[in-house]
Structures are given as structure tokens and as C-alpha cells.
Amino acid sequence: MSNDFSTERIEQRTRAAVYRDGLLELFAAAVLLIIAGMWFISPALIGVAAALIVIFGWRVLERVKIRITYPRIGYFQERAEDPGTTARGMLVFIGGAIILMVGVIALSGGLTDVAEWRRAAPLLSGISLTGGFWYLADRSGLIRHRFVAVYSVVTGILLWVFTSGETYLPVAWHLLGLATPLAAIGTWALIRFLRTNPTRYGVVDG
């Protein structure tokens, strides 16, 4: 154990270790790919796809962790946030993003123009997902989560600026554009995790 001792540093390192396997990024990439894919195939079924992901996705992720993560670095369960506080935080953030979007559309003088709303949709998607990843970065302290948060809002702004507003399809492009670096980062983190953390054979227990 190092002599350079700080309980805060140990806690931060532990919180980062929870995300060391890259599975969360891969899971997020898969979710975004499914939703974007549904957008192209059948937009009416996006809600159903999202509900199925919420119900079964976390279970699948936990099963993967049981096979890959826990045999290597041990079992852990993340500290749960108060659901009320999380929900309030999300509502305030998304509400803020919507107000910002309305403000941007109003400034361009197109509040009654449907095309302006369509154009601004990727901006809302970008800001909303930025909130999620920024929160995650605060928890994990990992720079890659901060990068995804910034990348999300930047791509949202670019799509808002450079699209015409004919359809809502740029939102799907935004999700695909975000899924790609997430998949790359998750794969890189997973490969690194598997290389540096061999499976501990035999029962290591107290």
C-alpha cells in the first residue's frame, strides 16, 4: 500500500474501477444503435424498443459482468443515488435544454416554423445526452466520459447548424454519431481491462 494516503483518492479510484471494463460504454453504444436503427426502420416502435432496453438491458449487462468483470476484479454494486433526486435532476436538466432550444428557435424567428423545430431536435438530443455523460463523468472521474459529454453537444450543434430541417432524421444521425466513438472507447477499455486483469481462478473469499 502506498504511503501517499488519501481516503478521497481511494474512493475516487474505486468509483473509476467500477467503469474500468468499458461495458457501460458498449452497452450505451448498443442502446443508441438500436434506437437509431429503429428510427430508420420503424419510428413508431422506438418507444417499445426503449422500454425493452430498460427492462432487459440492465439484466443482460449484469450477466456479462458476472462472466467478465467479477471473476477478474471482484464483485461490487454501485452506490445507488436517491431516485427522487436523480429524477428531479434529469427533469431540471432536460427542462433547461428544452427552454434553451425554444430560446434558440425564437432568436432565429421561427417559433411557428416546423422546420426550425426539426432542425433544433439534434441540439436537444445532444444537450440531453451531454447531461447524462457529464453526470457519469462526475461520478467516475474518467476523462473519456467527459469527452463523450462534450462530443455529444458539439455534434448536436453541428447538426443543428448544417441540416435543413426537412425531417427528424438528423437525430438518428446524432445517435449513430455518438454510438461510434462510444463503441470504440468501450472496445478499447474492454481489451485493456482483459489484458491487465486476468481471471482469478479458485475461490478468493473472506
Binding site: T7, E8, I10, T14, R15, I66, G74, Y75, R200, V204
Partner: protein, 101 residues
């Protein structure tokens, strides 16, 4: 000359670096098993066993035998008393460092 107040002793159980590391790791997660604590603290198996036993005896850590998939696991969780002890220790040490300057 005004008399100084008697020095307050830090919680000796928490003051030991190995146990403090265990408490800090458990403070960052909801619960964790022996292997995770081993991985995060860098302690040896024997040391970790001894420290967790002392923390459990003091009521700072809850120990539960559980199954993760089909594998039996001893799962550790910080109790409310453990959280309070860690917070009090941090306050105490912050006070000490403030006094030193």
C-alpha cells in the same frame, strides 16, 4: 494562561491505514466482495481478513454470504455506524491538519 481542552483521540479502529482503506472503498460502493476489496486496497489476503473481521466486530461493516450467479461470495457493506465513524475520522483529521497549519 487559558487551559487547552483535552486532546480528542482519533478512533483507533479507523486510524489504521489498512482498515481506513477498506472503509474508503466500501464508502464508494453499495457493497463489494473480498476480491474487490483485495484489488482496490492492495492488502494481502491475511491482512484484509483480519481488518474486515475487526471492522465487523465493531459494527462498522456488515458481512453477508451471498451468491453471484452460482459462485458463493462474502459481500461486505458499510453500515451507518461505519459511515459515521469514517466521517468523524475525516473531520477529526481535517481539524488536526488545520491546527497544524
Amino acid at each position: 494562561m487559558a487551559e487547552l481542552p483535552p486532546p480528542i483521540e482519533p478512533d483507533r479502529l479507523v486510524h489504521e491505514p489498512g482498515r481506513l482503506a477498506v472503509l474508503a472503498v466500501l464508502n464508494a460502493v453499495e457493497q463489494a466482495d473480498f476480491l474487490f476489496l483485495l484489488d482496490q486496497t492492495g492488502l494481502t489476503k491475511g491482512n484484509l481478513s483480519s481488518h474486515t473481521a475487526k471492522l465487523e466486530a465493531a459494527g462498522y461493516v456488515d458481512v453477508e454470504k451471498a451468491f453471484v450467479g452460482k459462485i458463493p461470495r462474502t459481500v461486505y457493506r458499510l453500515t451507518e455506524a461505519g459511515q459515521q465513524a469514517l466521517a468523524a475520522y475525516r473531520d477529526h483529521m481535517a481539524g488536526v491538519f488545520d491546527a497544524i497549519g
